[in-house]
């Protein structure tokens, strides 16, 4: 039985090229710029330029962040090309993590609405 060292190559069918990586990098940069721009037109120096965005600010911002997260995970961390096992090992804790953040925020917000601060 010969030795069988698994290298990264053997499991990536369509290995992205440096060109793809750079394009993803540019998109990430643009998304970040959009995040900052969204902030500026909602709360910053140009607040109100496109109307009152305070109510859509958080969903839009989180969508942009989620897109960045997904791009880095799928392309830079190779989840798109690699075995789906890695995706599962990463995504399952992510889901639990998201549930915990949301649950804690909700439970503590309710609690703090009734608790008196400062003893």
């Amino acid at each position: 039985m010969t030795s069988h060292v698994t290298t990264a190559d053997e499991h990536e069918r369509a290995h992205p090229t440096p060109g793809t990586y750079t394009k993803v990098g540019l998109v990430l940069f643009i998304l970040t710029a959009l995040e900052v721009a969204l902030y500026e037109i909602t709360f910053g120096e140009h607040a109100g330029a496109l109307g009152d965005l305070t109510h859509v600010f958080v969903p839009m911002l989180l969508t942009l962040s989620a897109a960045k997260f997904a791009l880095v995970a799928m392309f830079y961390m190779h989840l798109k090309q690699d075995s789906r096992l890695f995706t599962g090992v990463f995504v399952f804790p992510l889901i639990i993590a998201a549930v915990v953040i949301l649950a804690l925020a909700a439970l503590m917000a309710y609690h703090m609405a009734f608790a008196k601060s400062g003893g």
């Binding site: 804790p93 639990i96 915990v100 804690l104 439970l107 503590m108 309710y110 609690h111 400062g118 003893g119």
Partner: protein
Amino acid sequence: MATTAVGHEALAAAPGEKTGLWSWITTVDHKRVAILYLIGATVFFFLGGIEALLIRIQLAKPDNNLVSPEFYNQLFTMHGTTMIFLAVMPMSQIFFNYIIPLMIGARDVAFPRLNAFGVWVFLLGGLFLNASFLFGAAPDAGWFGYANLTSKQFSPGMHVDFWMLGLQILGVSSLAAAVNFFVTIINLRAPGMRLMRMPMFVWMSFITMILLLLAFPVITVALILLMFDRFFGTHFFVPTGGGDPILWQHLFWIFGHPEVYILILPAFGIISEVLPVFSRKPLFGYAAMVFSGVFIAFLGFGVWSHHMFSTGMGPIADTFFSLATMLIAIPTGVKIFNWIGTIWGGSLQLKTPMLFALGFIAMFIMGGLSGVMHASPPADLQQTDTYFVVAHFHYVLFGGSIFGLVAGAYYWWPKMFGKVLDERLGKIHFWLQLIGFNLTFFPMHFVGLHGMPRRVYTYPKGLGFDSMNQWETVGAFILAAGFAVMLYNIWKTWRTAPPAPADPWNGATLEWSIPSPPQEWNFPEIPTVTGRDPLWEAKRQRGGTLPEPQRVSGQGIHMPAPSYWPLVTAFSLPLLFTGLMLASKIGPWGIFIGVATLFFGIYNWVFEPSYTSIPGVKGKGHH
């Protein structure tokens, strides 16, 4: 790979069968790591047991003053912390380490040095935690350390610091083991062992690893926040600064509830191995057992606030967590019915492992029933903080986990030590444990519902608690006697019992196909598996029995080389945390030494070659 059978004498000093202290200090062999866990777990279990007996003596009569209230707080805190983190979890580690590689047909775990690191961190962490007694500063704020009792204001001494930092050290050990076994189970299975062909103990352990990975980081953060409050003056849990003690409870129980499944799932797995062998029947409903285990783990992250029903979370939260808690009883019930289905119609061999397994089922059902009673918030408001809860969790943790682990100990003892424990003494132990356990904890249901609170160092007479507390104390000593019998059994068989065969119980799984105890490399050739219960299948194909496996020379089998870097790296953790504790007195020097040792250990570890061709042969770069 050469597998010529060699005479037993010629192998007494064969390379790989090393002896002596140094071989233990540098071991990376999963079987030796298991025995190190065994030594640690046994010592700490007895320490925790002494703490329990002292508690019981103090409570045996009303208005007692054997111990001061302050020392009593230390006793129940250390009893709980020790039993959970230094006894039950390490006992599970004994079997994870010894048995999982054997059951999946592997030569060792995926990362042997990481494995050794884990056991050293556990031993050092346990010593760190118990060193607190030497300073008269044993932890005293409960094993769950509620804020803001744990704040600097209300716990000014070093008690809580020892607890906080000791648990942080132990968390590192658990996480290291979890990564290791998660990868081992996924990646090191023998050819043909698909996931749905793995022994149930491996499945339950696998799920336990996932729970460890997801739950421990949360308590790590909780302890960090507490440390920042105590050492750096933050106010995370201090209301006068804007903080909130309830956050501690949430973070702790988001860890704490999965933790109790971490404590019970390995025992579930052990029972699922013992019952089939001693009923001479395969496990009933394998797939249902797997999926119910997965469901319990997943749902286990959604029930934590059932520990907080009395904190005023409001009707929506109360309802949600109540329903989720009741829901989790369903997959648990599925398991119990499947165990009964396994026994039903079987040819029962009532040997000691089986007795403890049957005891487990009965005791765990009782603990589960009181648990479901807690699931109702209005009922729980009556039960919480009373001895009713103490009864519940001892029925599931002792009646469940300990009974299961003891069953595993008697079951796998021959494989690990080459001796079958004495059957008569085993039965005496069983009856002492069953009677002692129930006498200690059953009355607690009543005494709790009659209003005896938890964590009180004494109680006045005439409230109706007196005689039941007396019986509970008697029961505790009967329980202790049972373990004394087990110790005697171990000593006696060590000295006088004949060597055990490879397969004393007519087992179904791969560990019984190799000598007792196994050679360093476990299997001369990695087996190929074609179904569940591979050994029964192999025996069926050969007319019922297999020949006794021979010891071989191990030439050409690649094993990981021993190393002391895991121990050096492990040392850095108590150094670092002691440095943190003493920082106000000695400045940052302790922290620097700890971090420097950590880097020194890690770099040497990473850049040391890990394999050699013949077990134990010294070569370049080995120690």
